[in-house]
Symmetry: C2
Subunit: 346 residues, 2 copies
């Protein structure tokens, strides 16, 4: 096994018969060193295999140029769009992204929040795990005055910076649309009600029902993990309900598409027998047959916005003491899966 020989500025200085300080300045492209010499230094550094040490130089500056990101999981379309947005924004500002997935568990989130702090991230972006009970594990960031931005899944009433959409409004819009299509017995299939995004969508659903004087029936709210298996199981449960529901509002398009497939396989017609609405405007909502009514939910833009907000805080372009909540727009997108009265509404 070959051993790693570390080339230092002293080695380069010796080779070129120059002072180490000149080499150091030359490597930083400092104009105090004339251009010809700078080029010679760079050429020698490249030839000798000198490794620029951003890591050490960042340490001296008390800056790692790394931004931590904690998400519930990596293999979800919404999360990966959000990450793509974060990455674009921070990379163009000269930061790198350190990333961990909590796998929906608070215990992992606590562990990673601490690991990232110890790794000297300059700031942190968090999308909360399904079962996180409080934000105590992020208080350390505030103590160190390290910027923190929550995105999408947040605690809405705390003092942290956050980027989100108006989930209650979105849940209201979609439920109202279903009611206007003549639906009265509307099932709501949701993720963990400990999370604002699902809580708020459900609140919007309840508000629309109340407005149209449709009694709220707790048995019509199904809380699951929204995985492939859990979604199919929920659809089977709906099929077996005595008084079959006439509509289903799911908090996620992929899950809505899975339910729709189960309904179709059982011989039901969509939307005539049961209308189905999703959430997120993922590609799957446009590929399903019929296409799925959904909420256009700007994942990439949410990521970019959170990253921009964080960078401004890190670089003191905005004030960390002024907490900001940024609410991005989302829109109801009406498609075939809910259109029982196509001509009156489009």
């Amino acid at each position: 096994m070959s051993t790693r020989k570390i080339v230092t500025i002293y080695d380069i200085a010796e080779r070129l018969k120059l002072a180490p300080s000149t080499i150091s300045r030359g490597l930083q492209d400092n104009p105090a060193v004339n251009e010809k010499t700078r080029k010679r230094i760079m050429a020698a550094a490249a030839e000798m295999g000198y490794r620029f040490n951003t890591f050490a130089s960042n340490l001296r500056k008390q800056r790692s140029n790394m931004i931590g990101v904690i998400v519930p999981r990596l293999n979800s379309y919404f999360i990966s769009s959000m990450l793509a947005g974060i990455e674009k924004e921070i990379n163009s500002a000269g930061y790198d992204m350190l990333i961990s997935q909590s796998l929906e568990l608070e215990a992992n989130e606590i562990k990673y929040a601490r690991a990232m702090l110890n790794n000297r991230v300059d700031g942190l972006i968090v999308n909360l795990a399904a079962n996180t009970r409080n934000l105590d594990h992020f208080q350390e960031y505030s103590r160190h005055n390290l910027p923190l931005v929550f995105v999408d899944r947040v605690f809405e009433d705390d003092d942290f910076n956050k980027v989100m959409i108006n989930n209650s409004r979105a849940g209201y819009d979609i439920t109202r649309h279903l009611i206007e299509q003549g639906c009265r017995r509307i099932v709501h299939l949701t993720g963990s009600l400990m999370r604002n995004v699902y809580q708020e969508r459900k609140a919007g659903y309840q508000r629309a029902l109340a407005e149209f004087q449709i009694p709220y029936d707790e048995e019509l709210v199904l809380e699951t993990e929204l995985t492939e298996d859990a979604s199919a199981a929920a659809a089977e449960k709906i099929l077996k309900m005595k008084n079959r529901p006439d509509a289903l509002f799911v908090s996620n398009d992929m899950s809505a598409a899975i339910c729709m497939k189960v309904f179709k396989d059982a011989g039901l017609h969509i939307p005539q027998d049961i209308a189905v609405a999703g959430f997120n405007n993922e590609i799957i909502s446009r590929l399903s047959d019929p296409m799925i009514t959904t909420i256009n939910y700007p994942g990439e833009e949410m990521g970019r916005t959170a990253a921009r907000q964080l960078i401004n805080l890190i670089e003191h372009k905005s004030d960390n003491d002024l907490t900001k909540s940024i609410i991005l727009k989302s829109q109801l997108v009406v498609r075939g899966s809910t259109l029982k009265k196509p001509t009156t509404n489009l």
Copy 2:
């Protein structure tokens, strides 16, 4: 704006009237310090807001405990499954993941490979961009004896470590299956033919045609970016071909589902009028109607394998001088979208 006061071991030493060296050992949980004192030190550190400096301690050890990952893009199902696998493996081994997306451009890949080297990653995992011409930008890693593992999109004949599937075999299997279903005019819709994964699938397609003495027609191979728009455009092009093809083999399920939708919207029946096969075994292949014949492609397992290989190299549990190519299994999954003769084949 409040200023960040950095608490040092000297502050803790002063508070507890102990030597700084004792504090240092206590914070490292060194048994040379008795347990009661260690607890006092930990309590004072927590109370005063001392921030453990993994970053600096790693610098002393010449180890960052960070693994770099460069992928073409973050918002793809296959890539995010792969990342989920990498992350699980490296996190349980005590590493963190630093991640960048090349956005399919070699220029970005070059930039990020250098940035990660300068950030002192302990090793790098790469899935190549669409237009990368050579691996010169990774030679620096070899010079520094830094482990490097390519995953999925690799240069198959070089001396780097790699994890992949047998794409040629997979392309052959799927094409042979289409021929056995009676298809003779088979379009192949592929991504950038600069990349091994697409080259090899195409080679398998050609090999199957040759074996069954079906002449190869270059006009039936469509090279695109496999985006939503490019896939729909390719499907439109197929619909307009004079002598309409009887099958389509697409290098990606999402793209296959998009084509199938265009065909169905044009009134064609799948698979009677045109059989459609995809690649990856994404959820979409199970949700489409009919379900899509595909290749089961173990993204998460590829990520885990690459990460394990890299960690073994970093920790000298395996020898970097013995280059390894790991080829994982993939399987043909036959479904309704290609079954013109269902009874004979299942």
